[in-house]
Amino acid sequence: MTAGEPSRATFPVWDAFVRIAHWTLVASVAAAWLTRHAGDWHEWLGYAALAVVLARIVWGFIGTPYASFRQFVRSPATTLDYARSLLAHAEARHVGHNPLGAYMILLLMLMVVLVSASGWLATTDAYWGIKWVEELHEGLSNTLFFLVALHIAGVVFSSLRHRENLVASMLHGRKRVPDQEDIA
C-alpha cells in the first residue's frame, strides 16, 4: 500500500486473471500502436489483444464475483442516477466498477474487437490494399485511443474522489473494505 492512503483494511477484489488480462491488454494495444507501420509484429499484437478481450469476456461469465458482468453492468436508470450523483459531487464509492466505468469497459472491449477485426480484414485477399478498410482501421484505432484517454481520466478522477489509488488496485488487486455508504 502506498503512503498517504487511509490506513484501512483492504481485501482482494480484482483476481489475478482480471489484472493480468488488463495489463496484457495495455501492453499489446500500446505495442500494436508503436508498431503500427511494421507488418508482422503489429498483426500478432493485434491478435493478442483480441485474444485477451475474448478471454476476458468468457471470464466475465465464469469468473470471480467482481470480474462478472452481472456484478458491474447496471441498468441504464441506475447508471443515469450515478451520473447525476456525480454531477452533484455525491457519488457513492463502488468497490467493484462504478456504473459509468463499467460501460467504458464494455465500450473499450468492443473497440478492441472492432479494431482487431478491421485489421484482420485488411490482411484478407478480398480487402488487401483497399483504402477504406485501412481508413476504417485507423479511425477505429483513434476512437479506441480517445476512449482509453477518457478511461484513464475517469480512473484518476475516481482515485482522487475516493482517496484510493485505483491503478495500484489493478496491480495488487486489493481495495479498501467498504464503508456503510459505499456500494460493495
Partner: protein
C-alpha cells in the same frame, strides 16, 4: 513482488517494441516529386511481371504497392520512385 514483475513485464515489452520501426516499412531518399518516375510505369512493370496491382500509394518517399504476385500471393512491396528498384523490407521479399 508480483506487482513489480507485472510492471516490469509491461515496461520491457513496451521498450522492446519501441525499438521497432516507428514509421513506415521503408524510406526512400527520393528528392522532389518532379524527379520521380511515373506511378503508371511502375504499375506496368509489375503487371508485365504477372502481378495484379490493388493499390499504389506513397510512403516514406517510396512507392508502396499492394498487389498479388505472379503466384497469387499477397504482396506489400516498396519501390524507389527514381529507379523503380525494389526496396527490401521485413515484408518483401520474404526470406
Amino acid at each position: 513482488m508480483k506487482t513489480a514483475v507485472l510492471v516490469s513485464a509491461c515496461l520491457v515489452s513496451l521498450l522492446a517494441t519501441a525499438q521497432l520501426h516507428a514509421t513506415g516499412l521503408a524510406t526512400c531518399d527520393s528528392g522532389p516529386r518532379e524527379t520521380w518516375q511515373a506511378q503508371e510505369k511502375l504499375e506496368k512493370m509489375l503487371t508485365d511481371r504477372g502481378w495484379k496491382i490493388r493499390r499504389i500509394k506513397e510512403d516514406g518517399g517510396c512507392y508502396e504497392v499492394y498487389a498479388f504476385d505472379d503466384k497469387g500471393e499477397r504482396v506489400e512491396a516498396y519501390f524507389h520512385p527514381k529507379t523503380l528498384d525494389l526496396v527490401p523490407t521485413s515484408r518483401y521479399p520474404r526470406k
